[in-house]
């Protein structure tokens, strides 16, 4: 178990910047969900934490240690890949055994772990099959299983439930929540599914085009979106938007449109600026480097 922190992490592919100085602090045992539209840099961010992608700038720390130059195998992580990445020449059981081998457990321990995870994910009947003999959803569950048998410091999940039917998805989601409660391992979880995000997360990170738009608890991002993007992105059906004008009245400032007028929220007092386009993105801020350095 470990905390994870990203400070001003930048990723560029050649001249093309896809992650623009991300700052993120994840406490030990926290369940963090990365949420955002397709192509916003969720997978890239996760891959940088895993060490599969070089960091172009900034620093990533796990358990207070900077790990920018540490190879993936020494980062004590387990990851579910968006494209599964199952070992095709191994059976389901062998896939899990392979993932367990570096931990040097006894045969009994290995068997117990595999049995536990297989039961949890409904893989019992599939243990002797090879990936080619499985359906998409079954493959995804095997990918989950292969990560969950390990005991890493940090779990990285990249859309692990995207290919499951609603019932199975709900069920596996519960299992993930249970496992997290049981083990208390830090989790970084990428998803498109807002229900997943809302139900699983301690903290939601909303990304867009390589920037973090808001970090907050599910309630916070839902009820108090920091900007228009978050407001419209979260919630289904999405929030109604009205273009209003700020006006003075005898009761204080009001917001008015052709159709209706409401009192301006108290916390808006003295803070209202006009920003054409509604972009209220906050400029990225530098933070001090990781502790323990």
């Amino acid at each position: 178990m470990a905390s994870v922190s990203l400070s001003n992490v930048v990723k560029a592919f050649g001249a093309f910047k896809v992650v623009h100085g991300v700052d993120l602090d994840i406490a030990d045992g926290e369940f963090v969900v990365l949420l955002g539209p397709s192509g916003c840099g969720k997978t890239t961010t996760l891959r940088m934490v895993a060490g599969l992608e070089d960091v172009s700038g900034g620093e990533i720390c796990i358990a207070g240690e900077a790990i920018n130059d540490r190879p993936p195998k020494d980062r004590k992580i387990a990851m579910v890949f968006q494209n599964y990445a199952l070992y095709p020449h191994m059976t389901v059981r062998q896939n899990m055994e392979f993932a367990l081998k570096p931990q040097k457990l006894s045969k009994a321990e290995v068997d117990a772990k595999i049995a536990g995870v297989a039961g949890m994910l409904g893989l019992d009947a599939l243990l002797q099959r090879k990936p080619a003999q499985l359906s998409g959803g079954q493959r995804q569950r095997v990918a989950m299983g292969r990560a969950m048998v390990r005991t890493p410091e940090v779990f990285l999940f990249d859309e692990p439930l995207s290919n499951l039917d609603l019932k199975l998805r709900t069920q596996v989601r519960m299992e993930i929540a249970k496992l997290h409660k049981q083990l208390g391992t830090t989790v970084i979880y990428v998803t498109h599914d807002q229900v997943e995000a809302m139900t699983l997360a301690d903290k939601i990170v909303i990304m867009k085009d390589g920037y973090i738009e808001q970090i907050g608890s599910p309630e916070e991002v839902f009820a108090h979106p920091k900007n228009l993007f978050v407001a419209t992105f979260i919630g289904s059906p999405s929030m109604n938007l009205f273009r209003m004008t700020v006006e003075r009245s005898e009761k204080g400032p009001v917001l008015s449109s052709a159709a209706f007028t409401i009192a301006a929220p108290a916390d808006m007092n003295g803070k209202v600026h006009t920003r054409p386009g509604g972009d209220t993105r906050h400029p990225p801020q530098r933070r001090p480097p990781c502790p323990g350095r």
Partner: protein, 274 residues
């Protein structure tokens, strides 16, 4: 797959049959001639029949040390095949995975070695091996054969490595493995068909090679192909022995190819990535 109609199937069989006959005729002639008594070789009886004899085969192993030639051939061939396949798969893996702007130039440089004729290097090889005392040893031929096919086989293997999804190697990295283990336990098993093709190429090349073997060996490291040609001397051409030797030479290649065939399977990486 589309269903093939009976007529199409018949056509396929007929064409295959014709091709097979064309390829089998020389082999038949070799076998038949190797069994003919010397007297019948050029004056066949009217009905084409003859009394088969194993005399030429017996002569090969009693009057000549043909078993030693075969052992030499086997040592050289297996040695160079093993060496080539091991080393080249590593080279091809590097070419397939390293991301560097100039890596394609390196790959092309390897290919460019294919551009000059082998005979151009026979004399330099001769001089080098003579000066280090390797002339007429199997090691000399192993060295030559192991380097001769580098371009072809490295490029071949690279193609097979390119087919193995990198995501699998990434998954293994995350699972706690280093690059060497990943290569032997994930990538190489999945590129096994490439390895088999490569091995077949190397085996057939080394086993059949004549020019270098002729120039770089004398009596002690002589290979089977050179030995067979030595039955063609200025005083007499011993056709029976040449044919018997040729027929024996055919056999190991066939066995090796059949052995490797079971590795030549498609779709090893099926089901691994979405």
């Amino acid at each position: 797959m589309n269903k093939i109609s009976t007529r199409q199937a018949t056509l396929v069989y007929i064409v295959t049959g014709i091709i097979l006959i064309i390829f089998m005729i020389p082999i038949y002639l070799i076998l038949a001639s190797s069994l003919k008594p010397s007297a019948d070789m050029f004056s066949p009886s009217a009905d084409g029949l003859f009394t088969p004899t194993l005399q030429h085969y017996v002569d090969l192993f009693t009057l000549r040390p043909f078993h030693w030639n075969i052992i030499n051939s086997l040592v050289v061939t297996l040695g160079s095949t093993l060496f080539s396949v091991t080393v080249r798969s590593l080279g091809a893996f590097a070419l397939s995975r390293i991301r560097h702007p100039r890596i394609n130039d390196a790959a092309f440089w390897i290919l460019s070695m294919r551009m000059f004729p082998p005979i151009a290097v026979v004399v330099p090889y001769y001089i080098i091996f003579k000066s280090v005392g390797l002339l007429d040893t199997p090691l000399a031929l192993i060295i030559v054969y192991s380097t001769a096919n580098i371009p072809l086989t490295v490029w071949l293997m690279k193609g097979f490595f390119d087919e193995v999804p990198e995501a699998l190697e990434e998954a293994a990295q995350v699972d706690g493995y280093g690059i060497v283990e990943i290569f032997y336990r994930i990538t190489l098993p999945l590129a096994a068909p490439g390895l088999a093709v490569c091995a077949v190429f190397c085996f057939i090349f080394s086993w059949n090679e004549f020019l270098f073997a002729l120039m770089l060996t004398g009596s002690s490291a002589q290979t089977a192909t050179v030995a067979v040609m030595s039955f063609w001397s200025s005083d007499a051409v011993q056709w029976g022995r040449i044919m018997a030797g040729s027929f024996i030479i055919l056999i190991p290649g066939v066995i090796f190819v059949l052995t490797c065939q079971k590795w030549l399977v498609k779709g090893l990486t099926l089901g691994s990535v979405k």
